[in-house]
């Protein structure tokens, strides 16, 4: 990235020096920004999604009061200290609701109805009809960094019967997914593994060039749908090839991350969340990527949140537990605690010009309102980050008239710098954002 001023990469490398991970940037900023007369480049625009499955318990979710004077109820209490970086949006509706989980997942991540796969079964197996909004953002923000986008997963449960909608978050299009990484060790290797020697990297690039040529010849002989699949393959191979051009690490590597084993058959969700969050924050501050998604749990997830006393999968508890569903409520509180760790980590990671939350536009959401009803009105939505000043924060916005939830998608994308004037299709289409939170 040639620039007139010191590149962010250089600055950060200086900041990290050896193996230290914590970034003490304010003194550095003083030294470089003012002391030496450089004008530091503004932090990049960043976009993210933090998703959890199975909704919330509404009576504990909607804050008391609106505007700037709101107080959280129990399920948002774990985020209370993050209020200056947070908007709570209530009363909005995904307008394309036809089937539980599928509609809300596709609706809130694409602004469109889901795409049903197959015509000869009575059950719903679905994928996204269009790319998910993280990939819309990556089209604009992903080109300058080593990774176009990063996808990480926390709770391991993945559905198996219902299509990509229940298994993955990030989609480049129908049946074209970016699977989430669940292994901290593998994510670490990807982000901070040793780079190959230049002559070996060159040999590998020659191989990849040939693979792309082979794919291009093959592509010409295929029908339209396989052509699209092969184009994605080619694009993926080119991305690997591009990464091999990189001659130096963006940051000194932190100590290696290890996978988190179960203890007595129980998933260590908090530890997994912390390790993946820490790696992601480092990837952002090192500018390895500007677009990310965290799939805390899949839509309709059957994760057992034993930490709150759950003994069965969350999806099942949403269906079976008598009202007022205290276990579902406690599971939501637990989930918001994990989101709190994530947001706090970004808030507390400093870089030139602020912290990571200052530059991020993050949609935090789920696939329905309440799991026992599968309703898509009162959609639970949080928007975190100030997007470099393009988002107003600290608000509880309550829609007076069940506005289309796609408005939020348009707003968070625009805040990340994606120049859109409309978004979504069919009932999910909107041509205006949520002005209440746009700065």
């Amino acid at each position: 990235m040639p620039r007139a001023v010191l590149s962010r990469r250089t600055v950060l490398r200086g900041a990290l020096g050896g193996a230290a991970v914590s970034l003490a940037l304010p003194p550095l900023e003083a030294m470089l920004g003012r002391g030496l007369g450089f004008s530091a480049p503004p932090p990049p625009r960043r976009f993210g999604i933090w998703f959890w499955g199975n909704g919330v318990r509404l009576e504990h979710w909607i804050p008391q009061g609106t505007g700037t004077s709101w107080t959280p109820r129990e399920e948002l209490a774990p985020l209370a200290d993050l209020k200056p970086y947070l908007n709570v949006l209530t009363g909005l509706e995904v307008k394309t609701a036809t089937h539980p989980h599928h509609s809300g997942m596709a609706g809130i991540l694409t602004g469109a109805p889901f795409l049903k796969l197959g015509t000869t079964r009575d059950t719903i197996v679905s994928t996204f009809a269009t790319k998910s909004i993280d990939q819309v953002a990556a089209d604009h923000l992903g080109g300058k960094t080593r990774f176009r986008s990063l996808e990480v997963g926390i709770c391991r449960f993945r559905g198996s019967d219902e299509g990509t909608t229940f298994q993955h978050l990030s989609h480049n299009g129908p049946n074209n997914v970016n699977p989430s990484e669940y292994s901290p060790a593998r994510l670490f290797q990807r982000l901070f593994g040793a780079l190959p020697r230049p002559e070996l990297a060159a040999a590998r690039r020659s191989v990849l060039d040939l693979v792309v040529q082979q794919a291009a010849s093959l592509r010409a002989t295929l029908g339209p749908s396989d052509r699209r699949r092969l184009e994605q393959h080619m694009e993926s191979v080119r991305a690997v090839e591009k990464r091999l051009r990189q001659a130096e690490q963006a940051c000194a590597p932190p100590p290696p991350a290890r996978d988190v084993p179960d203890v007595n058959g129980q998933e260590q969700i908090e530890q997994q969340n912390q390790i993946m969050t820490d790696l992601l924050a480092l990837a952002l501050v090192c500018d390895l990527c500007r677009v990310f998604s965290v799939l805390f749990s899949t839509c309709g997830s059957g994760v057992i949140i034993w930490q709150v006393g759950a003994r069965n999968g969350l999806h099942q508890i949403c269906h079976d537990e008598p009202l007022p569903q205290p276990t579902v409520h406690r599971a939501t509180v637990f989930t918001m605690q994990q989101l709190g760790y994530f947001l706090r980590k970004l808030r507390d990671t400093q870089e030139l010009g602020g912290n990571l939350l200052d530059s991020c536009s993050i949609l935090c959401t789920t696939e329905l309102c309440e799991g026992n009803r599968h309703n898509n009105d009162e959609f639970p939505i949080l928007v975190a980050g100030r997007a470099g000043g393009r988002l107003r924060t600290g608000l509880h916005y309550r829609s007076p008239n069940r506005e289309n939830a796609s408005k939020v998608l348009l707003t968070v994308l625009r805040a990340a710098g994606v120049p859109l004037t409309e978004f979504g299709t069919a009932g999910g289409h909107v041509d205006s954002g949520l002005s209440a939170i746009e700065a």
């Binding site: 609701a97 089937h99 539980p100 989980h101 509609s103 796969l117 015509t119 079964r121 009575d122 059950t123 719903i124 449960f157 993945r158 198996s160 019967d161 299509g163 990509t164 298994q167 480049n172 049946n175 997914v177 970016n178 699977p179 990807r190 040999a203 590998r204 191989v207 990849l208 040939l210 693979v211 082979q214 794919a215 093959l218 295929l222 029908g223 339209p224 749908s225 699209r228 699949r229 994605q232 393959h233 993926s236 191979v237 690997v240 990464r243 058959g265 057992i304 003994r311 069965n312 999968g313 099942q316 949403c318 269906h319 079976d320 008598p322 009202l323 026992n372 009803r373 599968h374 898509n376």
Partner: protein
Amino acid sequence: MRCHCLLLLGLAACGGAVLEGEPAGRLGPDITPAPATLHRLTSLQYQNTVRDLFGSWIQVPTDLDVDTPLHGYRSIGASALTISERAAEQYEAAALSLARQVFGDAARRQALLGCAPSAPDDACARSALLRLGRRVWRRPLQPDELEGLLRLSRQVAASLQSNLAGLEYATAALLQSPHFLFRVERGEPDPEHPGSLRYTAYEMASRLSYFLWNSGPDEALLDAAERGELLHEAGLRTQTARLLAAPPARAALAGFFAELFALERLGHVVKDAALFPQFRPSLVEAMRQEVLRQVDELVFVRNGDYRDLLDGDITFVNGELARLYGLPGVSGPDLVRTQLPAGRRAGLLGTAAVLSLHAHATLTSPTLRGKFVRQQLLCQDIPPPPPGVTTSLPPPTGRPQTVRERLAQHRQDPACRSCHERMDPLGLGLEHFDPIGAFRTQDNGLPVDGRGDLDGTPFEGPRELGRLLRGHAAIGLCLVRQLYRHATGHLESAAEEAGVQALWQRFVRGHNVKELVYDLVLSDGFRRASAPQ
């Protein structure tokens, strides 16, 4: 749903009539076959394939992309999904590792090359790449494809100053090419059906081998393709017989049944440790093996009637599983063939694997058990509840309730009833078996009522349900349908339905799974294609 079944039965009658007039050599009525497509290797297929290519010594890459099953099968997901950036990275690392393992060892390198190259593109290099390329891409390389690999070999040999390095990287290129990572199927004009396509001989070699071995074709199968034998019934029968007789066929068929019965999910099933301390990984593995051994015995040892799986009383248990079942006289970790005593437990629905899979951590789930029977064994899908319907059960009344009592709500509320009445009564007949499949007489301190019904016909316990299913009109058709989906890697379209029905017409003669495999391989749905879409 019920209308759907009747419709299928109606069609079946027609299918039988059409069969009479078919020309010899092709089974079944005319159908519009599925479009030719690319089938990505599943992660297990990738691993099996490289092990067969290089030998059992090879350290098979494990850092591979996750499979995304669709409609219950990995093969269907593999025919629809593509290769993400992350997957491309993983494939690159895997290809480099494999090539390094071969070229880093003089003896193994020599075994692969069969000669010592004196230049990166000499006759030795050419013959080695042609031979390896045919196995890796499952067809002969075209001249321009060979030239591309030799060019790469020259380029890398020059920059790394090593002829062998050139061939090593050319090998890595073969192993991350779309021609390896995807089974490429484009078809060719079908002389028997002008205007339509059939799979080429080499495409048939891969279709056969990934269906029957879940791995790539061996030399003999590629040779049969080269001779054009796989375009004709006799050649297909010969190769099907050869493949079915080899050990990988047993693993591949077991893999199908493991997906059909969702056995792989067993590893993720969690039970409440306080209530079920015996539900340890070793017991869970025995549960899984029990079903697979039943399938293997049925298909490969007895070559028997598929429906015996539903109500048979021969099974395989080790000490742990025998304790769970209350069977005396079995100990140790190895599964031994055992006759179940007369009683409620028999057949697939009496296995701890199926009973555990379709139950919660603390409670049974008659709903999930019923759904398993409907969806997996009868192919009767249950639609999801409509949005806005409250699914939470009523609060406890203060006195202990059985699961049966709690579920009564499902069948009283009209919004729930239409679907739940198809599932719950089936599962309620299995209530004598707890969440890990042990026999019980009490639920929550109250006596168990283990009566259920299948569409109005009463039964009690897995043995009786198995017997009812044995006689159910949909049972054979459903297995045919499931195997067809798995084998062809797609959900059958309405335009293929007559072909599925025709396979069923033959299957019901003896419900013999191997015969079904032959019929399927010989059917139009497996051999013919429509133009790619």
